[in-house]
Amino acid sequence: MDAIVSWLTSLFPHMAAPIARLIVHLVYAAILSFVAPVVVVVAFTYMERKVIARIQDRVGPNRAGPLGLLQGFADAVKMLTKEDITPVGADRIVYNLAPGLAVVGTILVYAVLPVAPGVIGADLNIGILYVVAVGGFGMLAAVMAGWSSNNKYALLSAFRVVAQLIAYEIPMVIAIIMVVLAAGSMQMGQIIDAQNVPFLFTLPVAFFIFFVATIAEIGRSPFDLLEAESEIVAGFHVEYSGFKFALFFIGEYMHLFVGAGLGTTLFLGGWRGPGASEATILGVLLGFVYFLVKTVFLIFLMMWVRGTFPRIRIDHLLDFGWKFLVPVGLLALVAVALVLKLPFLSSSVLKWVGMLVANIVVVVVSLTAVSFAARRSRSVALRGVAGTER
C-alpha cells in the first residue's frame, strides 16, 4: 500500500501524500466492497458445488459455460431479477436493514486481512480484536432479520444462530488469545512476522479450535442448524427473497473466505513463503498467491468436512462448544503461558518445541478425560438398560 502511495506521488508530483493515500484507500475499499464479493461468491459457490459433487460421486454444474463455470453469474443475475417480497406484518425498516448489516459487517472484517505483503486495509494494532468485535454485527443482523420477519420459525432460527455463534465465539477467542500470547501482538502484520514456524505446528490445539469454531461461526455443515431445512424451514432469512436474500448469501460466502483467510494469517503464516516480500512487485504477487493457495486449501478442508460429517443436534452442538472446546482451550492457554515462562526454554526453537509438547499433553489429557467421561456415561446408560430389563 505504502509502495503504491509513493509510486502515485512520484507519478504525479503535484499530488500530496494524504490525497494519494486517500485515493488508494478508496480504490481498495471499492475492491473489497464490490469486486471481492462477486469474485468470492462466484468462485466459491462453483468450487463448493464441484467439490461436494465429487465427494458425492456426481458431476456438479456443467451446463452454464465451459465446465459450468458461468453458473455463479447466472445465479447472480437470477437473484437480481427476482421479485422482492416483504411479508405482511413485517417490521419494514428493520427488515430491510438486516441484510445490509449482515453483508457490511462481514466486509468490515476484510479491512484487517493481510492478503499480500504490504497489502492490508488498516494494520490496526488491535487487529485481531477488531475482527472479533466486528463479528458481533452478524449476530445482530440475524436477530434483526429473525425478529422483523414476523415468522416464528425465522425468530426461532435467529435464537439458534445466536446461541450457536456465542457458543463458538468463546473458544475462538481463546484460540486467538493463544496466538496473541505466542506472537506478542494483536497486529496482523506482527502475527505473520512472528510465524517463522507457522502456529499450526506450534499451537495445533489452537488451530483445531479455531478451525472448528470458524466452521460453526459461518454456520456450515455440520453446524448448519440455523438453516436446517427439515427442522426450521430455512433459517432466519426464510422470508427473504430476491436481492435481499442474495445479500445474506453474499455475506455467508464472504464470511467463509475471510474465516479461512484469518485461519491462514493466524496459523499458516499468512502470505509468507519463499520469495514473498514487500520489496518487489513480484514478491507481492507471490505473497498473494501463497495466501490464496493456503486459504483455498482451508476452504477445501471445510467443504470436505461438510461432505463427510452429518449435521449434529443442537444440544450436542452447544455441548461441544461449551463443555469441550472452552475447557480444552483454557487448559491449552494456561499450558502455553506456562511454557513461555519456563526459564530453561531460552531460545525460540526450544520455545516452539515446548509449545508443541504442551499442546500434545493437552490433547492427551483432554482425550483421556473425554473417553473416561464417555465410558462412565455409557456404563450409566447400560446400567439403566439393565435396570429396566430387570
Binding site: V94, L124, L129, V132, A133, G136, V143
Partner: protein, 176 residues
C-alpha cells in the same frame, strides 16, 4: 482551519448525531425492540467517539461488549418477556413529563458548570503523543492491569463469577 480538523469535526458531529439520536430513540421509541436497536446505534456512536479520542482498544471493547454481548443480552431478554413489544402502546409512565423536565434541567446545570470550568488540559506536547493502550511495542494496558491494578483485575473476575452465579440462579427455570 486545516482539512483534518474539519474532517474531525464533521466526523464528531456525525457520531454525536448517532449517539444522541440513538439515545433519544431508546427513550422515546414506542416499541421496545426498536429501543434496543437504537441503543445499538448509540453504542456505535460511542465506538466512534473512542476512535476519535485515540482509544482504539476501548473502541473495540465497546463494540465487543456492548454491541456484541450486552445488546444481544437485552434483545434476548426482550424476546423472552414478549407481550409488551408487539403492542404499540405508550411506553412512558405518568411521571414522564416531570422526568423530562428534571433531566433537561440537570443537563442545563451540568452544561453550565462544565462550560465554566477551566479544565487543566495537558500541554500541546503531551496531547500530541497520548499513551497507547496497545501499541506496536506491546501492551501498556497489560502492564498496568497486572501492575498497579492487579487487585481490581482479580476482583473483576470475582465480580463476574458472582454476577454469573446470581444471574443463573435468577434466570433458571425452576426445576420441575
Amino acid at each position: 482551519m486545516p482539512v483534518d480538523q474539519i474532517v474531525k469535526t464533521v466526523v464528531f458531529v456525525i457520531f454525536t448525531v448517532m449517539t444522541l439520536g440513538g439515545g433519544l430513540g431508546v427513550v422515546v421509541s414506542p416499541r421496545i425492540f426498536h429501543s434496543a436497536l437504537f441503543l445499538v446505534l448509540s453504542f456505535a456512536g460511542v465506538v466512534g467517539y473512542y476512535v476519535l479520542l485515540d482509544a482504539g482498544f476501548l473502541a473495540a471493547v465497546q463494540l465487543l461488549i456492548y454491541i456484541g454481548a450486552i445488546a444481544i443480552l437485552i434483545l434476548f431478554a426482550i424476546m423472552l418477556s414478549r407481550g409488551l413489544m408487539a403492542e404499540r402502546q405508550s411506553q412512558s409512565n405518568q411521571q414522564w413529563w416531570i422526568a423530562a423536565l428534571v433531566a433537561l434541567l440537570i443537563f442545563v446545570v451540568l452544561a453550565a458548570v462544565l462550560w465554566r470550568v477551566d479544565w487543566p488540559v495537558a500541554s500541546q506536547q503531551a496531547l500530541a503523543s497520548p499513551s497507547n493502550a496497545i501499541s506496536q511495542e506491546g501492551s501498556q494496558l497489560g502492564r498496568d492491569l497486572l501492575g498497579p491494578y492487579v487487585i481490581p483485575f482479580e476482583v473483576a473476575s470475582v465480580l463476574l463469577l458472582v454476577a454469573l452465579i446470581g444471574a443463573v440462579i435468577l434466570a433458571r427455570e425452576t426445576e420441575s
